[in-house]
């Protein structure tokens, strides 16, 4: 790019090239656009959303008649300090419902992963579960 073109980019006319002092007079944002078309013209706009899959309803499992004499699993999904909270709950059960068998388990993997062997164990040996899912 030559000097002349660069200066004309600045808004300086090549005829005025040799000025010794300049002053910015009117910043660009003095301008405001005038929209020629009528502002109340009507338009349609497409919905930008993707297509969600329908959700399959899952019936909840039948409830217990009472917790007495049952085995309850406390499942720690791996969030910070979730285990400590569940251990306090275990102490609470031991104190208030001594006939309840409480089993504490930390789910394998990070909180984002599944743990089928644990679910199998709970299905076989447990009657109910309490899951700490978010910190």
């Amino acid at each position: 790019m030559n000097r002349r073109k660069l200066l004309s980019l600045l808004g300086m006319s090549p005829a005025l090239l040799a000025g010794a002092q300049m002053e910015a007079q009117q910043p660009k944002a003095a301008k405001s656009g005038k929209v020629a078309a009528a502002e109340n013209a009507q338009f349609e706009a497409l919905n930008p959303k993707g297509s969600p899959p329908p959700v399959k309803l899952i019936p909840m499992a039948p409830r217990l008649d009472s917790v007495h004499g049952k085995t309850i699993y406390l499942v720690d999904t791996g969030f910070m300090s979730g285990g400590v909270l569940l251990q306090q709950m275990q102490i609470w059960f031991n104190k208030n419902y001594p006939d309840v068998t409480v089993v504490f388990r930390k789910k394998a993997g990070s909180y984002m992963e599944d743990d089928p062997p644990l679910w199998k164990e709970i299905k076989e040996k447990g009657n109910a579960a309490i899951m700490a899912i978010g910190h």
Partner: protein, 440 residues
């Protein structure tokens, strides 16, 4: 659990009340009996947590343990045992007719934007965008979810609507289709506020006048600005991401989510192999590569930087790694001047430098294990015997170990306008490279 016939009660802290309910609904259990503890749990002593257990659920106001026991024992009502399918409503296919101003407000108020002005996606504009690709408007491009949610599917046309809104020109469209086809949303659901980035390679950079010189990562060119922004809109509208408290949980948010750090590689001024060629593409192929992680930071604070007459950029880059987490990798963006200097020092390939960086950047096993992310993500893998994490968890605290399993975990790209030999370091992990040409 409920599927297995075992009654269960999910428990979360109060902050997750909305999320837990909306999630249960998305998973088909709108009536699940969730209960809540005060927030936070992390950082509380056993005594403080016992007070939570003995106290009330802050959402319902009822004693927590009574609520849990009720949740497991109170009989179900008919609603709770319903089966079948439940549709999710996303509104009509077309809005309006209305004025442009009103449509702008409608899109803004309904969470379909990043809260900045959009180009209204009229049928004419969307049709023009569709001309930017040979793919059929009804072709299904992919599936996307912002986390562990049911993925939404989307078509070429639906991507075009978002591209128009972001301010993209039709010739940018193949890049957007390539990005969308990856299924990666630029807004993750985690409570960590993740950052995303894309590296663009090939002749398309010049065809679209992408900026890869002065101000490469700033707001100085239409393709860089709008393509990056479109990724966020795609994450919101096609992947149902970015709803705070529901599909977005980042506690503090990330300021790079506005543009998602668009990097067009400066292949012309780089003395190294372009990134897409490293990934097995030809130089004339057009490719977009996606990254996810934490952030990007400037290298100015690195030790050794001040040796002005003899800058050692290898040392400086290595020094910057000190405050990165090993859970994410390193993406180093070098100005061409930095690369020239590194080549003069003997690093005539990217591999030579990544190899040196990998071998010479070490931390103690203690420091490694002391990172929150390592605990959450690597520790479970170590327990399963996965290497190198298993070894890294077994060795004594003082053992020096590398930051990442392999030199490949360090990625180098070139961008910048050669006004100063600077570099930036992203704590970002490579995810995938997608051909743009396939979407032309």
């Amino acid at each position: 659990m409920e599927k297995l016939g075992i009654p269960s009660v999910p428990m979360a802290t109060k902050s997750f009340a909305d999320l837990a309910k909306s999630n249960a609904s998305k998973r088909g259990m709108p009536h699940i009996r969730a209960c809540f503890t005060p927030h936070p749990v992390w950082g509380k002593t056993a005594e403080q947590l016992m007070a939570y257990v003995e106290g009330n659920d802050p959402v319902s106001g009822k004693p927590l343990m009574q609520e849990i026991i009720d949740g497991l024992t109170v009989p179900l009502i008919a609603e709770d045992t319903k089966t079948g399918m439940m549709d999710v409503n996303v509104g009509p296919p077309v809005y309006g007719p209305d004025t442009l101003d009103n449509l702008q407000i409608h899109f803004l108020n309904n969470g379909m934007t990043d809260f900045l002005p959009i180009i209204i996606p009229t049928p004419e504009k969307v049709d023009a965008m569709l001309k930017g690709s040979s793919h059929h408007p009804d072709e299904v491009v992919g599936k996307m979810a912002a986390g562990a949610f049911a993925a939404w599917t989307f078509t070429v046309r639906q991507v075009a609507v978002n591209a128009v809104m972001a301010g993209c020109e039709p010739e940018y469209f193949p890049i957007l289709l390539a990005v969308a086809s990856s299924g990666m949303a630029a807004l993750g659901s985690s409570t960590s506020s993740f950052a995303y980035s894309m590296v663009i390679n090939g002749p398309i950079r010049d065809k679209l006048n992408m900026n890869y010189t002065i101000g490469a990562m700033g707001p100085f060119a239409q393709p860089n600005a709008t393509i990056g922004r479109a990724w966020t809109l795609i994450g919101k509208n096609l992947g149902n991401g970015g709803i705070p408290g529901d599909t977005y949980m980042g506690s503090q948010g990330n300021n790079t989510n506005y543009n998602n750090i668009v990097i067009a590689e400066n292949e012309k001024d780089s003395l190294w192999t372009p990134y897409h060629v490293q990934k097995g593409f030809k130089p004339e192929d057009n490719v977009v590569s996606l990254f996810a992680g934490e952030d990007i930071r400037q290298g100015h604070g690195a030790r050794g930087a001040g040796v002005l007459e003899n800058p050692m950029f290898d040392d400086q880059i290595s020094d910057m790694f000190r405050t990165l987490t090993s859970q994410f990798d390193a993406l180093v963006i070098c100005d061409p001047l930095t690369i020239k200097r590194l080549v003069e020092q003997g690093y005539d390939t990217k591999e030579k430098l990544t190899d040196w960086l990998w071998k010479n950047t070490m931390r103690t096993a203690k420091d490694y294990r002391d990172s929150a992310f390592v605990y959450t993500f690597h520790y479970p893998r170590a327990l399963r015997g996965e290497e190198p994490y298993a070894t890294w968890y077994k060795c004594p605290e003082g053992t020096l170990i590398p930051y990442w399993p392999k030199p490949d975990n360090i990625v180098l790209v070139c961008a910048g306008g050669q006004t100063n030999p600077f570099f930036q370091v992203g704590n970002l992990t490579y995810r995938v490279s997608v051909s743009i040409d396939k979407w032309m």
